[in-house]
Symmetry: C2
Subunit: 142 residues, 2 copies
DNA sequence: CAACAGTTTAGAATAAATATAATGTATTAT
DNA sequence: ATAATACATTATATTTATTCTAAACTGTTG
């Protein structure tokens, strides 16, 4: 299976041995037709539904964090009670629907490049994220 | 005292009675020469150091949230273990130093207006935040 | 097959944020 | 003012996401 090899490669490059559990996590994350947003809880639920193997919370957390460090996943900055992650690591931004607690992609084409004309001495920019919080538009505004 | 009156006004407009504790919170938040970023824990510590009155965690949380709802404070979207707040509610963005866990303002003038050319039906944009994560620049990059 | 390095897991620990309920204080109507 | 009422404060308990731990497990290597 070609896919499986890719997962083993991703895991190895992240400093992790390719185990059953970790490959299952890869399948869920990287096999999907579309990229998607998820919380750890949701990811565990998807695995439970799809798989005949059990994966513990700790393993999911560890694997997700290793992938983030390596750049195979992205964490989206939000002040929600849980952390949100994205399988789409290409440069793009997000709407966050505060009522539904849902993330929606904003394609790169739909926002001008954010150009920051200021630097901090001794520091470099690692990432730039735009978060546009949205709520229902009831026409009238109190 | 003119300041005190402003605080009472802010509290009333936020639907809160002006009590000793809440006025103390206002003093710390709105009396400062410069705007600043804070976590709840830090705010409580500042109050403890400055004040002869005790303020419980619950009161601080409640008051801060009422002010955010009213627009007197801003919460900054970050995936940190604690929430970060800003007394500067004018339109501006942030660097987040991931090593120091510190926020640094990016003035409005230092970023072009973020223009999102896409809307979500039935929704309106409530806020747009730019977060630029920064790390030490060691010249060499592995 | 023994030894070792790395894994998985359940459950414990941690810590931020929220809820609770008893006590205290400000406001209102009298 | 004073009593009655509505709202506040507080210490403590609860909740929940995340991290930690230590024991059992797996797979690889000599």
């Amino acid at each position: 299976m070609a896919h499986s090899d890719q997962y083993i490669d991703k895991l190895r490059k992240s400093g992790l041995r390719p185990t059953k559990q970790r490959i299952k996590i890869c399948e869920v994350l990287f096999d999907a037709e579309k990229t998607f947003h998820f919380t750890i809880k949701e990811l565990v639920k998807i695995i439970e539904n799809q798989a005949n193997i059990k994966v513990s919370l700790a393993t999911v957390y560890n694997t997700v964090h290793a992938f983030i460090k390596k750049g195979y996943l992205k964490e989206i900055p939000l002040n929600a009670s849980q952390s949100y992650y994205d399988t789409n690591v290409t440069h793009h931004h997000h709407f966050f629907d505060e009522e539904e607690n849902k993330l929606i992609d904003i394609h790169q084409d739909d926002v001008d490049e954010v150009n920051i004309k200021r630097t901090i001495p001794g520091k470099k920019i690692r990432s730039v994220e735009v978060i546009a919080k949205i709520v229902s538009d009831n026409q009238s505004q109190k």
